[in-house]
């Protein structure tokens, strides 16, 4: 304990020497550029300097100076008032995911910032670049259990890429520049800025700060030419190569390089949930989705391929199932920007560090053109089987209640397979990612790593602001919708054009599915008594329609898409539906339940 105290003492004494931390002042230096302002205003200026145009937030006592400064910037900075701070973080995530820009959240201290924890953790898991700015009690009250004081740094350090407390007004431009640089570079992630009230009201000479390096931080490790050569050789020699596509491809803007790579060597590719839309759905080399509820063919072939090429994936357990039986027959090549992902879950033969855009391009240069016709044909039989046993039943049930899959499928069709898919978590999510189709990249917004119920509605709001010209379709469940349903207020106030499709089964469906399959149908606390959702939407001035008959579905979808502005389409779906195929948690990827 003694050492710990001493350490903190030292750190406190030696106030960080900012020049040593790699920041450069990039103002013009001219005197007219320097002007005196409050720290709060310098924060807004610094955000504008980073190119921010939209903020999702909620005010409170320790953020009032920032909100006051914002009042004068209404024409430059669009602040979206959410209904709960968790919603602000998910909206920032949705915005970031579709736009590729950093999402920004602004909240007050204590309960305000505590409400952002779920969103920060979610963004960390899914490598989503967001900056969460929180007001904090004045420096002189820190550590005193002051009103609405929370140890924000202590709480958020383990779940953020970087967290920093600003105690002096002069630090603000530097801290903002650093926050955006860290959030957006390398493997992106959430950054937290905890800004003490005194720093917000202190007077500073504002000069814009830009940061292009931090000496302790290597966002993109150097590419290793020997590894690139080894990988190319291995791929050239492969008879049965299989590529696994993760979000790293999207985050690295490497979609084109991926396609060049796959086409040149004729490699079939499957995607993780978060990697979806990096490849168009109708790309012939696209063999589907991986994982627990992924497609049969790529899961089976994972354990039959001779070279497995993982690109920007982190071998999550929902993708790999039992690691002891995962792709044991294959040589594995792993492209990733994050060295800590190499060998973390799966031991790889050739790690390729760097940005996929560069590393894939480098490999492509060395590759021979190739054909793997016989191998690619092997995917057909399992696909046929899945279509027969699972997909046809789900998409074209003919009689009986509506199914989730058919609703998703119809909406995807009606939007020309070109809308942004946002999902909540549960069966609705898995049906969404299984049956929605994509034409362009950055079309999927879903909570992959954390599996956060309540993510969908606010994330859809953010997605609409991030891609205003695109149609945004949210698929959500009766459970998840009610976790952040208050964001209907945000939709109303800011007139956000999101199409909400509620797949209502009156159950916490995914948990119920597990109870049915693995817990002897003991449906403990998964039955939901639900409100009249259409009435709730109506109370927020959001038009909607309840559909339970198959004959009405097309017409209702048309009405939804033709309505300008937000719309709630509630589909009463089969109450005890199942998501198949399913690889039970922890079992081999080849152990697939088809229903």
């Amino acid at each position: 304990m003694k050492e710990i105290n001493d350490m903190q003492g030292m750190a406190g004494q030696a106030r960080h020497d900012k020049s040593a931390m790699g920041h450069t002042l990039k103002g013009t230096g001219a005197d007219h550029d320097k002007f005196k302002m409050k720290g709060a205003q310098s924060l807004i200026e610094a955000l504008l300097h980073e190119g921010v145009d939209t903020i999702f937030g909620y005010p409170g006592g320790q953020a009032i100076p920032i909100y006051d400064a914002l009042y004068d910037y209404k024409d430059k900075l669009n602040h979206i008032l959410v209904r709960h701070e968790q919603g602000a973080t998910h909206a920032a995530q949705g915005y970031a995911r579709v736009s590729g820009k950093v999402g920004v959240t602004l909240v007050t201290s204590g309960p305000g910032v505590a409400n952002t924890i779920t969103g920060i953790a979610d963004a960390m898991m899914d490598s989503t670049p967001i900056v969460v700015i929180a007001g904090q009690v004045p420096s002189n009250l820190l550590g005193t259990d002051a009103f609405q004081e929370v140890d924000v740094i202590g709480v958020t350090l383990p779940i953020s890429k970087w967290a920093y407390q600003v105690r002096h007004a002069e630090e603000i431009p530097w801290a903002v520049a650093r926050a955006f640089y860290i959030a957006s570079t390398g493997r992106p992630g959430p950054v937290v800025l905890d800004i003490a009230k005194n720093a917000q009201v202190g007077i500073v000479d504002y000069r814009p700060v830009s940061i292009d390096h931090i000496r302790s931080y290597i966002p993109v490790p150097d590419m290793e030419p020997e590894r690139i050569a080894e990988a190319a050789q291995l791929i050239d020699a492969a008879q049965k190569p299989l590529a696994l596509v993760g979000q790293g491809v999207i985050l690295g803007n490497a979609e084109k390089e991926l396609l060049d790579f796959l086409r040149k060597a004729d490699i079939p590719a499957a995607s993780t949930v978060l990697g979806l839309s990096a490849l168009p759905s109708d790309e012939p080399l696209n063999v589907g989705m991986l994982g627990m509820h992924g497609n049969v063919a790529p899961n089976l072939k994972t354990n039959e391929c001779d070279v497995l090429i993982a690109i920007g994936i982190r071998f999550d357990d929902r993708v790999t199932g039992d690691l002891n039986s995962y792709a044991k027959q294959a040589k594995i090549i792993h492209f990733d920007v994050d060295p800590a992902e190499i060998d973390k879950n799966v031991k790889v033969d050739i790690p390729i560090l760097g940005n996929a855009k560069e590393t894939l391009a480098a490999v492509v240069k060395l590759l021979k053109e190739n054909k793997h016709t016989a191998w690619r044909d092997e995917f057909k039989a399992p696909w046929e089987k899945e279509i027969q046993v699972v997909i046809n039943k789900e998409l074209h049930p003919g009689t009986g209640p509506l199914t989730m899959g058919e609703v998703v499928h119809k909406v995807s069709e009606a939007t020309g397979h070109d809308a942004v898919l946002v999902t909540d978590v549960g069966q609705n999510q898995m049906m969404g990612v299984r049956y929605f189709q994509f034409k362009q990249t950055r079309s999927v917004v879903t909570s992959g790593g954390l599996g956060t119920m309540g993510y969908g509605l606010p994330a859809a709001i953010g997605a609409k602001f991030g891609a205003p010209e695109r149609t945004v379709c949210l698929f959500t469940g009766d459970g998840g919708l009610q976790m952040t349903i208050q964001e209907l207020g945000t939709i109303m106030q800011s007139n956000v054009d999101v199409k909400i499709i509620l797949l209502n089964n009156d159950y916490l469906g995914m948990v119920r599915q597990w109870q049915e399959l693995f817990w002897q149908e003991r449906y403990s606390e998964t039955l939901m008594q639900n409100p009249d959702f259409i009435k709730i939407a109506a109370a927020y001035n959001i038009p909607g329609r309840l559909v339970s008959e198959r004959e009405e579905l097309d017409e209702a979808i048309r009405e939804m898409l033709e309505t300008k502005g937000p719309y709630l389409l509630e589909a009463k779906v089969v109450r005890k539906g199942m998501v198949y195929p399913m690889v039970p948690a922890g079992s081999a990827v080849t152990n697939i339940i088809l229903g």
């Binding site: 001493d6 903190q8 750190a11 030696a14 350090l157 931090i214 800590a340 060998d343």
Partner: protein, 205 residues
């Protein structure tokens, strides 16, 4: 003043449990920022690894702090932990070594009763044998200092506590120096400087 006996028991116990594991020394260079130690320790916490010893001080390079941490672990785990530490933005560099790669020391202080120490056959004998030295003394107590490896400082503790009892005992965390010629960090910083001069910016948003 009460004598302490448990100390040895507890320390010894923890070590026995980890018999099959290797003691790794993790060296971390970091920026000197508030909360840095916390950033490092939470990574151990997440993986449920005990820290055996810890020492932190300014390094030879200005503005950079050096952590020396020892922990019993399996190689696979330590590798992952070190990568995860290295990944933190404010960590300049982290790496691990086993004892063979290192020269290392711990320092221990022992407070014993002057009267009891004098009752021993040969004070000189014990001081000499252990290569210890007397730091300070009053009529009531004597403070001995010994540097060495854990086993060595522990052996003196054991002998003193068995013969005359120890009033207070403290042992520092390990400090270590690698046997390779240069401090790796200076290499790394030099390489980084070079790279920055070569490549201007990577601003990708």
């Amino acid at each position: 003043m009460e004598e302490i006996n448990d100390n040895q028991g507890i320390a010894g116990q923890a070590r026995n449990d980890d018999n099959e594991k290797t003691l790794y020394t993790i060296t971390i260079f970091s920026e000197n920022m508030v909360g840095l130690l916390n950033q490092v320790t939470i990574i151990f916490t997440r993986r449920g690894l005990n820290i055996e010893t810890l020492s932190v001080s300014p390094s030879a390079i200005e503005g950079i702090h050096k952590f020396t941490i020892t922990a019993f672990s399996e190689r696979d785990d330590i590798e992952k932990i070190v990568k995860q530490i290295d990944k933190r933005v404010d960590i300049v560099k982290a790496y691990y070594n086993t004892d063979e790669d290192l020269v290392f020391q711990e320092i221990a202080l022992y407070k014993v009763s002057t009267q009891k120490l004098l009752s021993l056959d040969s004070i000189e004998g014990i001081v000499r044998r252990y290569n210890a030295r007397i730091l300070d003394m009053t009529e009531v107590w004597v403070i001995l200092e010994k540097t060495g490896h854990y086993d060595e400082t522990q052996a003196l503790f054991k002998e003193l506590s068995e013969k005359i009892g120890v009033l207070q005992f403290i042992r520092s965390g390990r400090v270590a120096i690698t046997k390779s010629k240069v401090e790796r960090l200076s290499d790394m910083l030099a390489a980084m400087e070079e790279k920055l001069n070569r490549k201007p910016t990577i601003h990708n948003y």
